[in-house]
């Protein structure tokens, strides 16, 4: 009897599998019948898993952009969202699905460089242009002429923070990195290199500590650092771990400035770290209180309304997601077609594009050529602008 039941179960699984299949095919079928009036853009983000939080925020920005600019070449733009679960294996099938099953003409994403790198070769071979919003690892666009991105890179960001720390009079620094996270390790190392170069002193980085993904206790690391008394602590990390580091450092009586990267500009950091978040320093892509362009002004106004108090500030990744979408739309418009190569060439020819995060041009590698980063701090529970640092 059990056997029969198990067969029945597997049969239902198989059936559900096919019904899932047919339903999915039905949906595109209706749109392909009206092929002439829909252009599909794939969105490839982690919505669950380790980076699920950031992925959702980026997606919100992209969706908002789609709401503002729902049409290109006189056709409606349809966003097809897939979840890559912050997992590379999943990412490759997800992106193949976008290209093959959904027939998207372009792809936006992903939060987290690892999954973007994994999808890179598939995107390249399929000749479908992709626009990363916030993936800052150099390897994403390296040797891939179909992958572009709207943000600056880790080496640049590391240099900016090192510059800023030194401008503020820091002579020594301690670095905390999340061992196992490409973003954190990459940014941390670029900071170390720049800091040593700028101070001309190899001993200026007094402590380099690493912690594991999912660690929550940093007391031991921070106690070591406290004993070395650095002028500044640089701790690039995810929005989940950042508040823990900040809170524990302050509880241990560490008073020096704590700095981080773009991932820190996340309402969750201030919410979780509370009063201890006051005075942290981070570099980011844009400042909602000082819109760089006209586009930025209308974005900040509109998106604030859209959020309706759901989040106290606009996450930088949402702004980048927005930029990634409008950059792609602009290129499709200029290419005048949905052909992958044409769009790529149009992207390459992008000139002084006014995005939310500044005026954007692309380097030959496909990276947004940005030489200004915004430095922010937290004051009264709000992220406030303190400086822009330009690096040549």
């Amino acid at each position: 009897m059990k056997r029969l039941l198990s067969l029945a179960l597997s049969a239902t699984m198989v059936i559900s599998l096919f019904t899932g299949c047919t339903k999915q095919e039905q949906a595109p079928a209706t749109s392909t019948s009206g092929d002439s009036d829909v252009i599909k853009i794939g969105v490839f983000e982690p919505l669950t898993g380790e980076n699920g939080g950031g992925g959702l925020q980026e997606l919100d920005g992209i969706k908002y952009a789609n709401k503002m600019y729902p049409e290109v070449l006189g056709k409606k733009v349809e966003l097809v969202v897939v979840d890559n679960k912050s997992d590379k294996g999943e990412a490759t099938t997800a992106v193949t699905r976008l290209i093959e099953k959904e027939g998207v003409v372009a792809i936006i994403g992903s939060y987290g460089s690892g999954v973007s790198i994994a999808a890179g070769d598939i995107i390249k071979n399929a000749k479908i242009p992709a626009m990363g919003a916030s993936c800052t690892n150099p390897m994403v666009t390296q040797g891939n002429d179909f992958y572009f991105r709207a943000c600056f890179l880790d080496p640049f960001q590391g240099e900016v923070m090192a510059n800023y720390a030194i401008q503020q009079g820091a002579k020594t620094a301690a670095v905390i990195m999340q061992n196992g996270d490409d973003y954190s390790v990459g940014l941390g190392n670029f900071f170390i290199n720049s800091f040593k170069k700028l101070t001309g002193n190899d001993a200026s980085v007094v402590d380099i500590s690493e912690f594991q993904v999912n660690d929550t206790d940093f007391n031991a690391i921070l106690t070591n650092i406290k004993a070395k008394n650095p002028d500044v602590i640089f701790a690039p990390s995810s929005a989940t771990t950042a508040p823990l580091i900040i809170k524990q450092a302050r509880a241990l009586g560490i008073t020096c400035p704590i700095m981080g990267g773009d991932t820190w500009e996340n309402p969750a950091v201030v919410e979780v770290a509370g009063a201890d978040a006051e005075g942290i320093v981070l570099s980011t892509f844009f400042d909602e209180n000082d819109p760089a362009t006209e586009e930025a002004k209308s974005f900040v106004e509109g998106y604030k309304k859209e959020l309706a108090g759901k989040e106290p500030i606009i996450p930088a990744v949402a702004a980048l997601g927005y930029d990634a979408y409008i950059l792609m739309l602009d290129a499709i418009e200029r290419a005048g077609s949905t052909d992958g190569v044409a769009i790529r060439d149009a992207l390459n020819a992008t000139k002084d594009f006014e995005g939310v995060t500044g005026v954007i041009n692309f380097t030959p590698e496909g990276d947004a050529d940005k030489n200004i980063a915004v430095i922010k701090t937290v004051k009264g529970g709000q992220f406030v602008y303190i400086d822009s640092v330009e690096v040549k």
Partner: protein
């Protein structure tokens, strides 16, 4: 290294260790009765933290009422888990029950991701717990001082229940010999439910203290503490409550001391727990305080 730094690290170790201990008691009790690694224990702990967030942030309840609600909800979840995932498999092979435990853990994690998303939630401030004091150059939050105390109190409570009460006697009987206990007229299901009630309430207390100390609440927060606390339970001798507390303290201290004395190896910190586990299993599989179990033919 200055004495101050060392004392600070010692305090760090005790505080982390006592948190591990608290959660490890739940593991060791369930294992003692059911001979089952309750893989979902870490996820029950995670859910308890979310319950606290909902109680205090979403419903703006004062902390003492929230804690009571969290206790009730967590106990309900623990008992439900036992009823749904473990009870139907009581006579099944050991492997099936373990797979069910893994499945339950997987389900709770996915459910939490689906319901609460991966964006970290801030654990509400219980002001008197998060205040910090400095004694002889050593900074401690009140939670850090209270945790070892709570752990010891909980240990004595559990020891009292298992040694001095009727249900405790039944628990010991069941853990010695399941079948005989059943024949002696002990209501096995009641005993098991009680075990899960105690284990889950400790997980809830652990979650409140953990959250006050590490206030970033995410769906996967229970995975690593879960594994490490299980290791602590094995280290102390699984099935032995005092052993679990001892194991938790040793594990917490070992992790902190690795970072203190061998800062170059901080990247290997998570490996320490597993290395301890394997060494213990090989050298003394019954753990520090465990009783010897012989195989029955």
């Amino acid at each position: 290294m200055t004495l101050e730094t060392f004392l600070q690290q010692l305090a760090n170790g005790i505080s982390l260790g006592s948190l591990y201990s608290l959660i490890a008691i739940g593991y060791t009790m369930v294992y003692g009765i059911l001979r089952l690694i309750n893989f979902a224990h870490g996820d029950i702990f995670m859910m308890a933290a979310y319950f606290m967030v909902f109680g205090m942030v979403n419903f703006s309840l004062p902390w003492y009422i929230s804690i009571i609600i969290v206790l009730i909800a967590t106990i309900a979840l623990g008992v439900l888990l036992e009823r749904v995932a473990y009870k139907p498999l009581r006579d099944a092979p050991r492997m099936s029950i373990m797979i069910s435990a893994i499945g339950a853990s997987f389900l709770l994690e996915n459910l939490a991701t689906y319901l609460f998303t991966g964006v970290p939630k801030g654990f509400p401030d219980i002001t008197f717990l998060t205040n910090s004091v400095t004694i002889a150059g050593v900074s401690l939050s009140v939670a850090t001082i209270i945790t070892p105390v709570v752990t010891i109190v909980c240990l004595f409570l559990v020891l009292f229940i298992t040694n001095k009460t009727k249900i405790g006697m039944a628990m010991r009987a069941v853990s010695k010999d399941f079948e005989t206990a059943r024949l002696m007229g002990i209501k096995i299901n009641r005993v098991i439910s009680t075990t899960f009630i105690i284990g889950s309430s400790l997980a809830a207390v652990g979650a409140v203290l953990w959250g006050s100390k590490y206030p970033s609440i995410i769906p996967l927060m229970g995975v690593m503490p879960g594994l490490k606390c299980f290791i602590a339970a094995v280290l102390g001798g699984i099935g032995n409550t005092t052993g679990a507390v001892l194991g938790g303290f040793i594990l917490g201290m070992a992790e902190i001391m690795l970072v203190t004395f061998l800062p170059a190896l901080t990247g290997y910190r998570d490996a320490i727990a597993f290395i301890i586990l394997i060494v213990v299993l090989l050298v003394k599989p019954t753990g520090l305080l465990g009783e010897k179990v012989t195989d029955k033919v």
